[in-house]
Subunit: 222 residues, 2 copies
DNA sequence: GCAAATTAATGATTTATTCAAG
DNA sequence: CTTGAATAAATCATTAATTTGC
Protein backbone atom coordinates (compact mmCIF):
# COMPACT_ATOMS: atom_id res chain seq x y z
CA UNK A 1 0.00 0.00 0.00
CA UNK A 2 1.04 3.47 -0.59
CA UNK A 3 4.10 3.41 -2.61
CA UNK A 4 6.68 5.97 -1.97
CA UNK A 5 5.59 9.40 -2.79
CA UNK A 6 7.69 10.54 -5.63
CA UNK A 7 11.26 11.37 -5.73
CA UNK A 8 12.17 14.95 -5.45
CA UNK A 9 13.29 16.46 -8.63
CA UNK A 10 16.95 16.99 -7.98
CA UNK A 11 19.73 15.07 -9.46
CA UNK A 12 22.51 16.25 -7.30
CA UNK A 13 25.78 14.71 -8.09
CA UNK A 14 28.58 14.57 -5.69
CA UNK A 15 29.72 15.65 -2.33
CA UNK A 16 32.28 18.31 -2.58
CA UNK A 17 34.48 16.70 -0.04
CA UNK A 18 35.04 13.09 -0.37
CA UNK A 19 32.77 12.06 2.37
CA UNK A 20 30.82 9.11 1.53
CA UNK A 21 29.82 6.34 3.72
CA UNK A 22 28.26 3.05 4.35
CA UNK A 23 24.66 2.96 3.52
CA UNK A 24 22.56 2.33 6.53
CA UNK A 25 20.07 0.52 4.48
CA UNK A 26 22.60 -2.08 3.76
CA UNK A 27 24.11 -1.97 7.12
CA UNK A 28 20.93 -2.81 8.75
CA UNK A 29 21.32 -6.24 7.37
CA UNK A 30 24.20 -6.79 9.63
CA UNK A 31 23.31 -7.52 13.21
CA UNK A 32 26.00 -5.21 14.37
CA UNK A 33 26.63 -7.03 17.56
CA UNK A 34 25.05 -4.63 19.92
CA UNK A 35 25.66 -3.55 23.43
CA UNK A 36 28.44 -5.71 24.74
CA UNK A 37 31.01 -2.97 24.70
CA UNK A 38 29.65 0.00 26.47
CA UNK A 39 27.01 -1.78 28.37
CA UNK A 40 28.01 -2.40 31.84
CA UNK A 41 26.99 -5.32 33.87
CA UNK A 42 25.24 -8.22 32.35
CA UNK A 43 25.58 -8.19 28.66
CA UNK A 44 24.52 -11.13 26.70
CA UNK A 45 25.06 -10.69 23.03
CA UNK A 46 27.24 -12.92 21.03
CA UNK A 47 30.74 -11.68 20.34
CA UNK A 48 30.09 -10.88 16.76
CA UNK A 49 27.77 -12.49 14.31
CA UNK A 50 30.16 -12.74 11.46
CA UNK A 51 28.22 -11.38 8.59
CA UNK A 52 28.94 -8.16 10.37
CA UNK A 53 31.50 -7.56 7.75
CA UNK A 54 28.74 -6.89 5.37
CA UNK A 55 28.70 -3.63 7.04
CA UNK A 56 31.63 -1.51 6.05
CA UNK A 57 31.44 0.97 8.88
CA UNK A 58 31.53 -1.54 11.61
CA UNK A 59 34.90 -2.41 10.24
CA UNK A 60 37.06 -3.62 13.00
CA UNK A 61 35.72 -3.83 16.43
CA UNK A 62 37.37 -1.11 18.46
CA UNK A 63 38.68 -1.32 21.91
CA UNK A 64 37.64 -4.84 22.42
CA UNK A 65 39.83 -4.80 25.42
CA UNK A 66 37.67 -2.42 27.26
CA UNK A 67 34.84 -4.43 28.62
CA UNK A 68 35.49 -7.84 27.26
CA UNK A 69 32.68 -9.31 29.26
CA UNK A 70 31.36 -11.12 26.32
CA UNK A 71 29.29 -13.96 27.47
CA UNK A 72 28.14 -16.42 24.99
CA UNK A 73 24.57 -16.62 23.80
CA UNK A 74 21.91 -14.91 25.88
CA UNK A 75 20.26 -16.53 28.79
CA UNK A 76 16.50 -16.57 29.22
CA UNK A 77 14.91 -17.58 26.03
CA UNK A 78 17.72 -16.27 23.95
CA UNK A 79 17.43 -15.96 20.23
CA UNK A 80 14.13 -17.23 19.02
CA UNK A 81 12.47 -13.90 19.27
CA UNK A 82 15.46 -11.70 18.89
CA UNK A 83 15.54 -10.64 15.31
CA UNK A 84 17.51 -13.53 13.92
CA UNK A 85 18.08 -12.16 10.47
CA UNK A 86 19.30 -8.94 11.90
CA UNK A 87 17.02 -6.33 10.50
CA UNK A 88 14.91 -4.42 12.85
CA UNK A 89 14.43 -4.93 16.50
CA UNK A 90 11.70 -7.29 17.38
CA UNK A 91 10.91 -6.93 21.05
CA UNK A 92 10.21 -9.92 23.20
CA UNK A 93 7.32 -10.18 25.57
CA UNK A 94 9.45 -9.42 28.54
CA UNK A 95 11.00 -6.45 26.93
CA UNK A 96 7.66 -4.96 26.08
CA UNK A 97 6.45 -5.67 29.54
CA UNK A 98 9.31 -3.88 31.16
CA UNK A 99 9.12 -1.00 28.77
CA UNK A 100 5.47 -0.57 29.54
CA UNK A 101 6.21 -0.64 33.19
CA UNK A 102 8.52 2.25 32.73
CA UNK A 103 6.03 4.02 30.61
CA UNK A 104 3.32 3.57 33.12
CA UNK A 105 5.71 4.69 35.75
CA UNK A 106 5.87 7.97 33.94
CA UNK A 107 8.92 7.61 31.79
CA UNK A 108 8.34 9.27 28.46
CA UNK A 109 11.52 10.59 27.01
CA UNK A 110 14.32 8.89 28.85
CA UNK A 111 17.65 10.55 28.75
CA UNK A 112 20.80 8.90 27.64
CA UNK A 113 21.59 7.36 30.93
CA UNK A 114 18.15 5.99 31.42
CA UNK A 115 18.15 4.63 27.95
CA UNK A 116 21.35 2.82 28.45
CA UNK A 117 20.24 1.49 31.78
CA UNK A 118 17.05 0.19 30.34
CA UNK A 119 18.87 -1.22 27.40
CA UNK A 120 21.21 -3.13 29.59
CA UNK A 121 18.36 -4.56 31.51
CA UNK A 122 16.34 -5.45 28.49
CA UNK A 123 19.29 -7.05 26.85
CA UNK A 124 18.72 -9.81 29.33
CA UNK A 125 15.76 -10.83 27.30
CA UNK A 126 17.07 -10.47 23.83
CA UNK A 127 19.22 -8.34 21.67
CA UNK A 128 18.44 -4.69 21.84
CA UNK A 129 20.12 -1.39 21.27
CA UNK A 130 19.76 1.94 22.93
CA UNK A 131 18.08 3.44 19.95
CA UNK A 132 15.44 0.77 20.06
CA UNK A 133 14.54 1.88 23.53
CA UNK A 134 14.51 5.47 22.51
CA UNK A 135 12.33 4.84 19.52
CA UNK A 136 10.02 2.70 21.51
CA UNK A 137 9.28 5.52 23.88
CA UNK A 138 8.93 7.97 21.07
CA UNK A 139 6.51 5.80 19.23
CA UNK A 140 4.63 4.61 22.22
CA UNK A 141 4.10 8.09 23.47
CA UNK A 142 3.04 9.36 20.09
CA UNK A 143 0.69 6.50 19.52
CA UNK A 144 -0.89 6.72 22.88
CA UNK A 145 -1.40 10.34 22.16
CA UNK A 146 -3.07 9.79 18.84
CA UNK A 147 -5.09 6.97 20.23
CA UNK A 148 -6.38 9.21 22.95
CA UNK A 149 -7.10 11.92 20.48
CA UNK A 150 -8.88 9.54 18.24
CA UNK A 151 -10.94 8.35 21.13
CA UNK A 152 -11.89 11.75 22.32
CA UNK A 153 -12.81 12.74 18.81
CA UNK A 154 -14.79 9.59 18.42
CA UNK A 155 -16.63 10.29 21.60
CA UNK A 156 -17.26 13.83 20.56
CA UNK A 157 -18.67 12.78 17.24
CA UNK A 158 -20.57 9.68 18.18
CA UNK A 159 -23.82 10.95 19.75
CA UNK A 160 -24.39 8.68 22.75
CA UNK A 161 -23.63 9.12 26.36
CA UNK A 162 -20.87 11.54 26.92
CA UNK A 163 -21.27 10.54 30.51
CA UNK A 164 -18.62 8.64 32.29
CA UNK A 165 -18.81 5.20 30.87
CA UNK A 166 -16.54 3.88 33.46
CA UNK A 167 -12.90 4.30 32.78
CA UNK A 168 -12.53 3.86 29.10
CA UNK A 169 -9.42 5.82 28.79
CA UNK A 170 -8.36 4.56 32.16
CA UNK A 171 -5.89 6.56 34.04
CA UNK A 172 -4.14 7.90 31.06
CA UNK A 173 -4.94 11.28 32.38
CA UNK A 174 -4.08 13.18 35.46
CA UNK A 175 -2.27 11.60 38.30
CA UNK A 176 0.91 9.98 37.34
CA UNK A 177 0.54 9.43 33.70
CA UNK A 178 0.83 12.89 32.39
CA UNK A 179 1.76 13.77 28.89
CA UNK A 180 5.44 14.24 29.24
CA UNK A 181 6.43 17.61 30.51
CA UNK A 182 9.41 16.94 32.71
CA UNK A 183 12.25 14.88 31.58
CA UNK A 184 13.14 17.26 28.89
CA UNK A 185 16.46 16.75 30.39
CA UNK A 186 17.00 13.92 28.05
CA UNK A 187 20.25 14.41 26.36
CA UNK A 188 21.03 13.01 23.09
CA UNK A 189 22.96 10.01 22.08
CA UNK A 190 25.74 12.14 20.87
CA UNK A 191 26.72 12.54 24.39
CA UNK A 192 28.27 9.21 24.13
CA UNK A 193 30.36 10.56 21.43
CA UNK A 194 31.54 13.58 23.20
CA UNK A 195 31.95 12.51 26.72
CA UNK A 196 31.49 8.88 27.07
CA UNK A 197 30.70 9.05 30.67
CA UNK A 198 28.99 5.79 30.29
CA UNK A 199 31.96 3.62 30.60
CA UNK A 200 32.68 5.07 33.95
CA UNK A 201 29.10 5.18 34.95
CA UNK A 202 29.37 1.54 35.63
CA UNK A 203 30.83 2.14 39.01
CA UNK A 204 28.73 5.07 39.93
CA UNK A 205 25.43 3.66 38.98
CA UNK A 206 23.71 4.12 42.22
CA UNK A 207 25.53 7.18 43.19
CA UNK A 208 24.54 9.01 40.09
CA UNK A 209 21.14 7.59 39.62
CA UNK A 210 19.90 8.80 42.88
CA UNK A 211 20.99 12.34 42.36
CA UNK A 212 17.91 13.51 40.62
CA UNK A 213 14.29 12.71 41.08
CA UNK A 214 12.68 11.29 38.02
CA UNK A 215 10.35 14.18 37.58
CA UNK A 216 12.36 17.11 38.75
CA UNK A 217 10.09 19.71 37.33
CA UNK A 218 6.51 19.56 36.29
CA UNK A 219 5.57 22.85 34.78
CA UNK A 220 7.00 23.99 31.50
CA UNK A 221 5.39 21.37 29.38
CA UNK A 222 5.22 22.49 25.86
CA UNK B 1 2.04 -10.37 18.18
CA UNK B 2 -0.19 -7.67 19.30
CA UNK B 3 -0.49 -9.35 22.54
CA UNK B 4 0.34 -6.85 25.19
CA UNK B 5 -2.36 -4.69 23.77
CA UNK B 6 -4.13 -3.87 26.95
CA UNK B 7 -1.83 -4.70 29.68
CA UNK B 8 -2.19 -1.05 30.28
CA UNK B 9 -4.72 -0.68 32.97
CA UNK B 10 -2.04 -1.67 35.36
CA UNK B 11 -1.24 0.44 38.26
CA UNK B 12 2.45 0.49 38.19
CA UNK B 13 3.58 2.45 41.02
CA UNK B 14 7.19 2.75 41.12
CA UNK B 15 9.73 2.24 38.49
CA UNK B 16 10.58 -1.24 39.26
CA UNK B 17 14.15 -0.46 38.72
CA UNK B 18 15.47 2.52 40.44
CA UNK B 19 16.18 4.55 37.41
CA UNK B 20 16.51 8.17 37.84
CA UNK B 21 19.04 10.32 36.21
CA UNK B 22 21.11 13.39 35.74
CA UNK B 23 19.30 16.34 34.37
CA UNK B 24 20.56 17.42 31.01
CA UNK B 25 19.47 20.92 31.56
CA UNK B 26 22.03 21.27 34.19
CA UNK B 27 24.61 19.31 32.42
CA UNK B 28 24.57 21.51 29.45
CA UNK B 29 26.25 24.11 31.52
CA UNK B 30 29.36 22.08 31.57
CA UNK B 31 31.49 22.20 28.45
CA UNK B 32 31.96 18.52 28.61
CA UNK B 33 35.31 18.43 26.95
CA UNK B 34 34.36 17.21 23.57
CA UNK B 35 35.83 14.95 20.99
CA UNK B 36 39.36 14.32 22.01
CA UNK B 37 38.77 10.72 22.82
CA UNK B 38 36.87 9.30 19.99
CA UNK B 39 37.96 11.76 17.44
CA UNK B 40 40.71 10.55 15.30
CA UNK B 41 43.35 12.59 13.73
CA UNK B 42 43.69 16.21 14.56
CA UNK B 43 41.77 16.97 17.62
CA UNK B 44 42.22 20.28 19.17
CA UNK B 45 40.13 20.67 22.23
CA UNK B 46 41.65 21.34 25.53
CA UNK B 47 42.08 18.30 27.70
CA UNK B 48 39.26 19.24 29.93
CA UNK B 49 37.98 22.57 30.98
CA UNK B 50 37.66 21.91 34.63
CA UNK B 51 34.26 23.16 35.54
CA UNK B 52 33.26 19.93 33.90
CA UNK B 53 32.73 18.55 37.31
CA UNK B 54 29.67 20.63 37.56
CA UNK B 55 28.21 17.87 35.64
CA UNK B 56 27.55 14.83 37.72
CA UNK B 57 27.32 12.34 34.93
CA UNK B 58 30.55 13.21 33.33
CA UNK B 59 32.17 11.77 36.36
CA UNK B 60 35.43 10.17 35.50
CA UNK B 61 36.78 10.09 32.07
CA UNK B 62 36.62 6.58 30.67
CA UNK B 63 39.13 4.63 28.82
CA UNK B 64 41.64 7.34 28.57
CA UNK B 65 44.10 4.78 27.47
CA UNK B 66 42.43 4.09 24.24
CA UNK B 67 43.25 6.99 22.04
CA UNK B 68 45.28 9.12 24.29
CA UNK B 69 46.09 11.48 21.52
CA UNK B 70 45.24 14.41 23.60
CA UNK B 71 47.14 17.27 22.28
CA UNK B 72 47.36 20.27 24.39
CA UNK B 73 45.45 23.44 23.73
CA UNK B 74 44.01 23.95 20.29
CA UNK B 75 45.85 25.48 17.48
CA UNK B 76 44.23 27.95 15.08
CA UNK B 77 42.34 30.58 16.94
CA UNK B 78 41.42 28.38 19.81
CA UNK B 79 38.88 29.41 22.37
CA UNK B 80 37.82 32.96 21.81
CA UNK B 81 34.73 32.12 19.86
CA UNK B 82 34.01 28.77 21.30
CA UNK B 83 31.15 29.19 23.68
CA UNK B 84 33.05 30.47 26.67
CA UNK B 85 30.25 30.29 29.13
CA UNK B 86 29.48 26.83 28.02
CA UNK B 87 25.94 27.05 26.86
CA UNK B 88 25.18 26.48 23.29
CA UNK B 89 27.45 26.09 20.37
CA UNK B 90 28.46 29.29 18.73
CA UNK B 91 29.91 28.52 15.35
CA UNK B 92 32.90 30.36 14.06
CA UNK B 93 33.14 31.83 10.62
CA UNK B 94 35.29 29.04 9.38
CA UNK B 95 33.01 26.44 10.74
CA UNK B 96 30.01 27.93 9.04
CA UNK B 97 31.96 28.24 5.89
CA UNK B 98 32.90 24.64 5.84
CA UNK B 99 29.47 23.50 6.80
CA UNK B 100 28.00 25.47 3.97
CA UNK B 101 30.46 23.92 1.63
CA UNK B 102 29.21 20.57 2.60
CA UNK B 103 25.67 21.71 2.29
CA UNK B 104 26.23 23.09 -1.14
CA UNK B 105 28.03 19.94 -1.98
CA UNK B 106 24.80 18.14 -1.37
CA UNK B 107 25.14 16.97 2.18
CA UNK B 108 21.84 17.20 3.97
CA UNK B 109 21.53 14.57 6.58
CA UNK B 110 25.01 13.29 7.21
CA UNK B 111 25.29 9.93 8.82
CA UNK B 112 27.18 9.24 11.93
CA UNK B 113 30.47 8.78 10.26
CA UNK B 114 30.16 11.88 8.25
CA UNK B 115 29.12 13.83 11.26
CA UNK B 116 32.07 12.73 13.22
CA UNK B 117 34.40 13.43 10.34
CA UNK B 118 33.05 16.87 9.93
CA UNK B 119 33.15 17.45 13.62
CA UNK B 120 36.76 16.53 13.80
CA UNK B 121 37.55 18.83 10.99
CA UNK B 122 35.58 21.69 12.39
CA UNK B 123 37.03 21.25 15.80
CA UNK B 124 40.10 22.79 14.26
CA UNK B 125 38.34 26.08 14.40
CA UNK B 126 36.70 25.92 17.75
CA UNK B 127 34.95 23.64 20.08
CA UNK B 128 32.18 21.69 18.55
CA UNK B 129 30.30 18.48 19.13
CA UNK B 130 28.78 16.00 16.81
CA UNK B 131 25.30 17.01 17.69
CA UNK B 132 26.05 20.59 16.74
CA UNK B 133 26.89 19.42 13.28
CA UNK B 134 23.81 17.31 13.15
CA UNK B 135 21.55 20.09 14.28
CA UNK B 136 23.15 22.52 11.96
CA UNK B 137 22.28 20.43 8.98
CA UNK B 138 18.81 19.82 10.28
CA UNK B 139 18.15 23.47 10.84
CA UNK B 140 19.86 24.68 7.75
CA UNK B 141 17.94 22.31 5.60
CA UNK B 142 14.66 23.15 7.25
CA UNK B 143 15.24 26.85 7.05
CA UNK B 144 16.31 26.81 3.48
CA UNK B 145 13.16 24.91 2.83
CA UNK B 146 10.90 27.35 4.55
CA UNK B 147 12.74 30.22 3.02
CA UNK B 148 12.16 28.77 -0.37
CA UNK B 149 8.55 28.11 0.42
CA UNK B 150 8.10 31.59 1.70
CA UNK B 151 9.67 32.93 -1.43
CA UNK B 152 7.61 30.86 -3.78
CA UNK B 153 4.48 31.73 -1.89
CA UNK B 154 5.47 35.33 -1.91
CA UNK B 155 6.03 35.19 -5.61
CA UNK B 156 2.80 33.40 -6.13
CA UNK B 157 0.88 35.92 -4.14
CA UNK B 158 2.60 39.04 -5.24
CA UNK B 159 1.20 39.67 -8.71
CA UNK B 160 4.25 40.53 -10.80
CA UNK B 161 6.41 38.49 -13.06
CA UNK B 162 6.33 34.87 -12.21
CA UNK B 163 8.97 34.63 -14.85
CA UNK B 164 12.51 33.76 -14.04
CA UNK B 165 13.90 36.64 -12.15
CA UNK B 166 17.36 35.41 -12.51
CA UNK B 167 18.63 33.18 -9.80
CA UNK B 168 17.22 34.53 -6.63
CA UNK B 169 17.45 31.36 -4.77
CA UNK B 170 20.74 30.62 -6.44
CA UNK B 171 21.58 27.07 -6.88
CA UNK B 172 19.38 25.88 -4.14
CA UNK B 173 17.52 24.00 -6.73
CA UNK B 174 18.31 21.33 -9.20
CA UNK B 175 21.81 20.46 -9.97
CA UNK B 176 23.73 19.84 -6.86
CA UNK B 177 21.62 21.24 -4.19
CA UNK B 178 18.64 19.00 -3.99
CA UNK B 179 16.29 18.59 -1.15
CA UNK B 180 17.62 15.53 0.49
CA UNK B 181 16.18 12.32 -0.83
CA UNK B 182 19.05 9.90 -0.57
CA UNK B 183 21.20 9.72 2.43
CA UNK B 184 18.53 8.13 4.43
CA UNK B 185 21.37 5.95 5.24
CA UNK B 186 22.18 8.17 8.09
CA UNK B 187 22.40 6.10 11.10
CA UNK B 188 21.87 7.43 14.48
CA UNK B 189 24.25 8.45 17.10
CA UNK B 190 23.37 5.45 19.09
CA UNK B 191 25.55 3.57 16.77
CA UNK B 192 28.41 4.86 18.72
CA UNK B 193 26.93 3.25 21.66
CA UNK B 194 26.39 -0.08 20.13
CA UNK B 195 29.26 -0.57 17.84
CA UNK B 196 31.77 2.08 18.23
CA UNK B 197 33.31 1.54 14.92
CA UNK B 198 34.59 5.01 15.15
CA UNK B 199 37.60 4.37 17.18
CA UNK B 200 38.90 2.07 14.57
CA UNK B 201 37.78 4.22 11.75
CA UNK B 202 40.85 6.24 12.22
CA UNK B 203 43.01 3.96 10.22
CA UNK B 204 40.50 3.08 7.61
CA UNK B 205 39.32 6.51 6.83
CA UNK B 206 39.87 6.43 3.17
CA UNK B 207 39.29 2.81 2.76
CA UNK B 208 35.86 2.97 4.24
CA UNK B 209 34.78 6.26 2.92
CA UNK B 210 35.19 5.29 -0.63
CA UNK B 211 33.20 2.13 -0.46
CA UNK B 212 29.83 3.60 -1.15
CA UNK B 213 28.68 6.38 -3.34
CA UNK B 214 27.10 9.12 -1.35
CA UNK B 215 23.82 8.83 -3.07
CA UNK B 216 23.48 5.12 -3.52
CA UNK B 217 19.83 5.12 -4.33
CA UNK B 218 17.69 7.72 -5.86
CA UNK B 219 14.16 6.50 -5.82
CA UNK B 220 12.24 6.24 -2.62
CA UNK B 221 12.60 9.78 -1.55
CA UNK B 222 9.72 10.83 0.56
C1' DG C 1 -2.99 -27.58 6.57
C1' DC C 2 -0.15 -24.21 4.15
C1' DA C 3 1.85 -20.74 1.46
C1' DA C 4 0.93 -16.56 -1.22
C1' DA C 5 -1.69 -12.21 -0.64
C1' DT C 6 -3.47 -8.79 2.33
C1' DT C 7 -3.79 -6.14 6.37
C1' DA C 8 -2.56 -4.37 10.87
C1' DA C 9 1.20 -3.03 14.01
C1' DT C 10 4.89 -0.89 14.94
C1' DG C 11 10.06 -0.08 14.42
C1' DA C 12 12.86 3.53 12.22
C1' DT C 13 13.48 8.17 9.83
C1' DT C 14 12.47 12.45 8.34
C1' DT C 15 10.08 16.85 8.56
C1' DA C 16 7.67 20.46 10.92
C1' DT C 17 7.24 23.16 15.18
C1' DT C 18 8.44 25.06 19.09
C1' DC C 19 11.52 26.78 22.68
C1' DA C 20 14.90 29.78 24.04
C1' DA C 21 19.93 31.65 24.14
C1' DG C 22 22.27 35.60 22.57
C1' DC D 1 15.40 38.43 14.99
C1' DT D 2 18.60 34.86 14.08
C1' DT D 3 19.51 30.27 14.97
C1' DG D 4 21.05 26.36 18.09
C1' DA D 5 18.50 22.83 20.48
C1' DA D 6 14.76 19.79 21.33
C1' DT D 7 10.34 17.66 20.71
C1' DA D 8 6.21 16.25 18.24
C1' DA D 9 4.01 14.92 14.06
C1' DA D 10 4.15 12.68 9.78
C1' DT D 11 5.96 9.29 7.05
C1' DC D 12 8.29 5.29 5.49
C1' DA D 13 9.23 0.37 5.69
C1' DT D 14 9.37 -4.19 7.64
C1' DT D 15 7.57 -7.66 10.30
C1' DA D 16 3.68 -10.48 12.27
C1' DA D 17 -1.07 -11.48 12.04
C1' DT D 18 -4.76 -12.67 9.17
C1' DT D 19 -7.18 -14.05 5.31
C1' DT D 20 -7.79 -16.59 1.17
C1' DG D 21 -7.50 -20.11 -2.50
C1' DC D 22 -5.97 -24.42 -3.12
Amino acid sequence: MKVHQLTREGLWEHETLSFTLGCKRLCSLAPKNTNTDVSTITTTTTPFDLKSFIRPESGSRKFGSLVDNKKDPPSPKDQVETHPGGTRWNPTQEQIKILEMFYKGGTRTPNTQQIEKITVQLSEYGRIEGKNVFYWFQNHKARERQKRKRNSVGLALSPPTPTFTSSITFETRGGIDQEDSPNKCRSWAFEYLEDQSWASCKEEDHKILELFPLHPELGKSR
